[in-house]
Point group: C2
Chain length 342, copies 2
DNA sequence: TTGAAAGCGCTAACAT
DNA sequence: ATGTTAGCGCTTTCAA
């Protein structure tokens, strides 16, 4: 009895099987040059002792973990939770695990923490940038494979997969206009949001109005956060202030759901009195009553692209010429908007 | 120019600042015995070189990472996504990060993978057990702090925080009976589910019927998976088969949402024709139209307990006498059920 | 086919 | 207040 700790190391296995640690390592990693009988002995010892590899040690030495990090603003937002699920499926097919962590969205310090520190635990990182400006982006010096998601094109050395925020928002707004809405609330929007998701979707809202030759009313632009209650509160406040409207473009489906609840409380009918379009086409959307018209940002295409780009970096090392990909968005018409009349 | 790699190590910082690596380590970890001027030099060097600690190395040496793992069956299920958010908040207050990974629920091999291997990357693990039987549970030999979530009491050496699945389900069903439903669908249930969540909630359903002296009808027990469409499909199939019912107890809110959509398609009114109660009280529930009556499994109490138990293990080492905690559940009455008539 | 030696980057324990 | 030594558990390299 020399060891008191119950942690079993490779050396323990080696001793028990009467071989060197190298041979154990070779067996575990499926390397070829190991005798059949030796392999058996080693496997038996592993099973008997309940040995588990220490990933930290492997990572330290070999520089890989088989783990890909996914950093998102909030874990509970359906869009990101569903994205995580889709990515997990795809990476699993490549023998890689996804682990998810949150950045906290706004606080840029959070984000740095992920990129500058945690990255070292992963073979690669998928980073959903929310409120990161180009200056910070270029500061990130790292050799590790990184794929960025979201927002507008930014000068950076990272592969970057984007949804088409502007065009998606334009389609949503255009649809509301085409089906008869004239006073459309921009819910959650921030016209000064610049290259953030908020700013881009607000831009699409303006574009659609310009295309249709219809003025926008600043009173109808309501900023909010992105939880259910934020959408609810925003619409409530609009109603309390007696500001009239006949359509809502919600910047996310979650906010749209909150908005619809507020409309119901006010006895306003959807879509008869007020039409609503969301953005994200989360799984919830098609099961709501009425089901939610939304913008599908190209879920599967995005997940495919993200996975493919990261896998490529994992193989070939960091990219020299970062790829910048914009996945097309499309409207999914459901019951919170009226059919076209024309 | 000796190094070609761009990875900056502590040794690089030490050289640049003209100190030993130990001093750099002391500065980084905020240990006291460092001169003010030396600290400045070191911090300057860190900033200049863009140094980041290598967590794998720290973990290997110090045995801690500042990271707590959370393993859940599916990343996209709102209950787990929202749980992850709550836990992240709490652990953040203790200077710890949460990272989330999925086990895949059913495949026990997935689960083992987490427990036996990934665990080594974390200071502790929170494991949501879904389909794990006691035998496997006792096999897990590990010194690392582990807190289990969910399901029924199981003999194990781990701290275990449970929601009261049986009583929650009993309350849900009792409420349906008390408000006039007599033929209540058990949606997603599996009476043979044993100690799984499914089996426990089915048990509560039976209990409530027994309490009320009302027979259950096996035709009304419909198994399903836990996605929106599973709830939808299950109700559709019941309607197609002309099996009459006037209430639905859905094993999760997600399934309930799918069910309500199917009822709407069949022109059945909720709650007038069919009452619906879900389980989980996810954020979505109160914003739906009609808002969803559900069982709140004690979200905050659970998160508090989980955090507290893990933190304690982190401090004191693995528990000798594992704690087993059952958090009470309570009904949240909303619009998918009728008010009490008595 | 197998093993010995070296060292990945860091920190605990012990000098100085 | 700072430095030296040793070694965490693994894998790479090279030798047997």
């Amino acid at each position: 009895m020399k060891k008191t700790s119950t942690v079993v190391t490779m050396a323990d296995v080696a001793r028990s099987a009467g071989v060197s640690t190298m041979t154990v390592s070779n067996v575990i990693n499926g390397r070829p040059r190991v005798g059949a009988e030796t392999r058996e002995r080693v496997l038996a010892a592993i099973a008997e002792l309940g040995y588990q590899v220490n990933l930290a040690a492997r990572h330290l030495r070999a520089g890989r973990t088989g783990v890909v990090g996914l950093a998102v603003p909030e874990l509970e937002r359906p869009y990101f939770a569903q994205l995580a699920g889709r990515l997990a499926d795809r990476f699993e097919a490549h023998g890689l695990r996804i682990v998810v962590e949150r950045t906290g969205a706004s606080r840029q310090g959070e984000l740095d923490a992920v990129v500058f520190s945690r990255l070292r635990m992963y073979d690669g990182l998928i980073l959903s940038v929310v409120d990161l400006d180009p200056a910070e982006l270029t500061q990130m010096r790292t050799d590790a494979p990184v794929v960025m998601i979201g927002e507008r094109a930014l000068p950076s050395k990272f592969d970057h997969v984007m949804m088409d925020n502007i065009d998606g928002a334009r389609q949503a707004t255009a649809h509301l206009l085409a089906t008869g809405s004239r006073r459309i609330v921009l819910l959650g929007g921030d016209p000064d949001g610049g290259a953030s998701m908020t700013g881009l979707r607000a831009e699409g809202y303006s574009l659609a109005h310009a295309d249709a030759g219809i003025e926008t009313d600043p009173d109808l632009v309501v900023r909010s956060s992105f939880r259910f209650e934020d959408g609810y509160d925003a619409i409530r406040s609009l109603l309390d202030r007696k500001i009239g409207f006949d359509g809502v473009f919600a910047l996310t489906d979650v906010v749209a759901i909150g908005a619809i609840r507020a409309l119901a409380d006010a006895k306003l009918r959807v879509p008869d009195d007020v039409q609503v379009v969301g953005f994200d086409d989360v799984d919830e959307a098609r099961f709501l009553v009425p089901s939610l018209t939304s913008i599908n940002p190209g879920h599967d295409e995005m997940a495919d692209a993200i996975c493919e780009l990261l896998i490529r970096q994992l193989k070939d090392g960091p990219t020299d010429e970062p790829e910048e990909l914009v996945v097309p968005a499309h409207l999914v018409e459901r019951q919170t908007t009226r059919p076209h009349t024309n």
